[in-house]
Symmetry: C2
Subunit: 405 residues, 2 copies
């Protein structure tokens, strides 16, 4: 028997999604579904996803909107109107998945929460993403990436030694929420193939952040329940050296030694083999105790070189080392472009723009199609005809009533 | 018709997983599967997952090992022996999913790569996690969380204004890799319910990191292709103020204003309503241009209060604000404990220990069972009997040959 082959099929061909997500969290989950082949309808209020307005240039959209809403169709729907709400129920009867990341209770108050929608369609998977979840004392705390980084403990472990807590510079909690929501959705979609029933699935950003703190929680446990102080770029538990960011002529490298042989290789590369016998550096524990001295030795070498050259010398010696790249280096990276993780799109509003593709790779499937993010309501008419078989006259009436746009 | 009910069922009941994951990336994906009800076998080499050895105390394991391997059964298998390899194939014939995060090519070289295993079982989903993926020029770069934070651009956007690049203090790239791998696995498991065939799925940590940089990539695009300098805890695109971490008597709060009314509320709370008409602060743009002045005004108030009191005053006024919590506050948090996101386990090696539960919540399903992480090979005999119907004599022989432990 041969290994399986897939005749040009996308994993989620035939799956229909109502993506009521806003900003990053929900839309990221919806985008991963769309890039895997689902028919994802981005359902926006008539004023549009708040993210649309975040570009400083009038008449355009931010890069983020274009990136996270590729491969979706756009429908603008007024959920506060009776006709708009009725349309949501009609669409939900045809959908496999509805996802949203409104504040907890918003859709319930509009009369289109999980209970009502699943009563209309028991096969519907209803997915809700929020900061703190749909229950518990913190449920209604306003949740933004910055405040979740604070509440989750992430900021307490990030920042310079002896300095203030610091956030990770990217919206890590928003995206951790979104990707976990996607995982929960897919788990429920699989389960529906067994039971025939759709679940309500839920992810709280703050809960998605907790397991990510594993190293730090482990360090606290080992430290008899006391959190380990912030260490900047050094080893979080002071258990290894070299383990740091080192300055080069034109930037920085990150480098760590996992095993003793890596330290010996480092000493060869920097031309200091005699230090192998130095009692300060005989094993990871003694080196960690002398990390300032280790780092001075490393920096004496790195500051004489451009970062790419230092990186290459260490990588050639099989040491874990990487130049710190800025975002221009990322969007021009031959590896990421060559693998199709990034590509250039001709976007109707943004012109030529480098965008990501889904990090989920399905061998045997084609890469996701190049379909730009929709304008607000760009496919309203098309979706209502496709999914609900509405006539042009019926759709005209919905526009007149202001239920759609 | 009523909304669906689930008679005490877990979403992945009946699914069998071979988890060959190591450290964080693969094991996190396997753990989410186990917590959703799958029968997950942690397959370790005879020397054990390298994570086992990371505790400083002899005879025990680190907290991380206990956290990420709950609800799994342990099987120790020598894949370098003929009998051990044959056992892996026998197990793979009974499995739905095999996941691994060895360096690319390791299992291929042992003769048990995706092609061979899927030839033996075309329904098997084969999931591979790595730093840079299975193809491309950077494929064989040594990938650790620190170096992926460097290579992905994450460190370039994190750190103090005017200072050096800095890593996020948690192993964010390892976990982003693991959770995306889980998403890919679940997508393929759903697809198999349609096609009957298992896919090879792949996630590269560096690719999972790129979409997480959305705010930063959007900022660079808006800034005509030039990366926005690091801003510490201030707004990454200098588009809003207040947006920062503010010192209190006993710690810090994070606070941001999303809309004008939030700024007005802040001014009421801090007792400076007259500043509403100050021309430096009339809208987000002017406040961002005067962020140093805004932050001085904020700090004059926050430094007079304990963090919990400042947080409460702002939250009561509906401003997005959160105290920066350390890890002791996380593990004792009534919200997380009350929701069951954290719980106390009596672990055979660690004693009483607070551990996380899966962030994926399935309404109607019970919380995951409390099952401690296995010892190395703890369930070898049981799994071989369960999955393969081997007799005690056959299993004894495998022990004698050194194929299992």
């Amino acid at each position: 028997m041969d290994a399986p082959t897939f005749p040009n099929r996308m994993p989620l061909d035939g799956i229909r999604v109502l993506d009521l997500g806003q900003i990053y969290n929900g839309p990221y989950a919806g985008w991963l579904l769309a890039q895997a082949g689902a028919d994802v309808i981005k359902v926006e209020p008539l004023r549009g996803d708040a993210l649309r307005g975040r570009s400083r240039e009038a008449g355009t959209i931010p890069w983020s909107m274009a990136a996270l809403n590729q491969n979706k169709r756009g429908l603008a729907l007024d959920l506060k109107s009776g006709a708009g709400k009725a349309l949501l129920f009609d669409l939900a009867r045809k959908a496999d998945i509805l996802l949203e990341n409104f504040a907890p209770g918003v859709l319930d108050r509009l009369g289109c929460g999980a209970k009502e929608l699943q009563t209309a369609n028991p096969r519907l998977i209803y997915a809700t993403g929020s900061g703190f979840g749909t229950t518990g004392p913190d449920r209604d705390n306003l949740a933004m990436d910055l405040t979740i980084q604070a509440s989750s403990g992430m900021m307490s472990v990030t920042g310079p030694e002896g300095g203030s807590p610091m956030k990770a510079g990217m919206a890590v909690c928003d995206f951790l929420g979104g990707i976990h929501l996607h995982s929960a959705i897919m788990t429920a979609l699989y389960e529906r193939s067994v039971t025939g029933l759709g679940r309500v699935v839920e992810v709280a950003m703050v809960e998605a952040a907790v397991p990510v703190l594993t190293t730090n929680l482990a360090g606290m446990f080992e430290n008899h329940g006391v959190p380990v102080p912030r260490r900047g770029n050094r080893h979080p538990a002071k258990a290894a050296a070299p383990y740091n960011v080192y300055e080069c002529q034109d930037g920085y490298i990150a480098l760590l030694c996992i095993r003793e042989e890596h330290w010996h290789s480092v000493l060869e590369v920097i031309g200091r083999p005699e230090l192998r016998d130095d009692p300060r550096f005989t094993d990871a524990t003694t080196r960690a105790a002398n990390d300032v001295a280790v780092d001075e030795i490393m920096t004496a070498w790195t500051t004489t070189l451009p970062k790419k050259q230092a990186e290459k010398a260490m990588q050639d010696a099989h040491v874990a080392c990487a130049a710190i790249r800025d975002l221009t280096e990322i969007v021009n990276d031959p590896h990421l472009l060559g693998r199709g993780a990034l590509f250039t799109q001709d976007h109707p509003l943004l012109g030529e723009v480098t965008l990501p593709r889904s990090p989920l790779r399905f061998h045997g499937a084609p890469l996701p199609a190049d379909v730009p993010s929709p304008d607000l309501g760009e496919h309203s008419r098309e979706v209502l005809a496709d999914w609900l078989n509405l006539s042009n006259g019926e759709i005209d009436l919905l526009y007149t009533e202001g239920a759609v746009a």
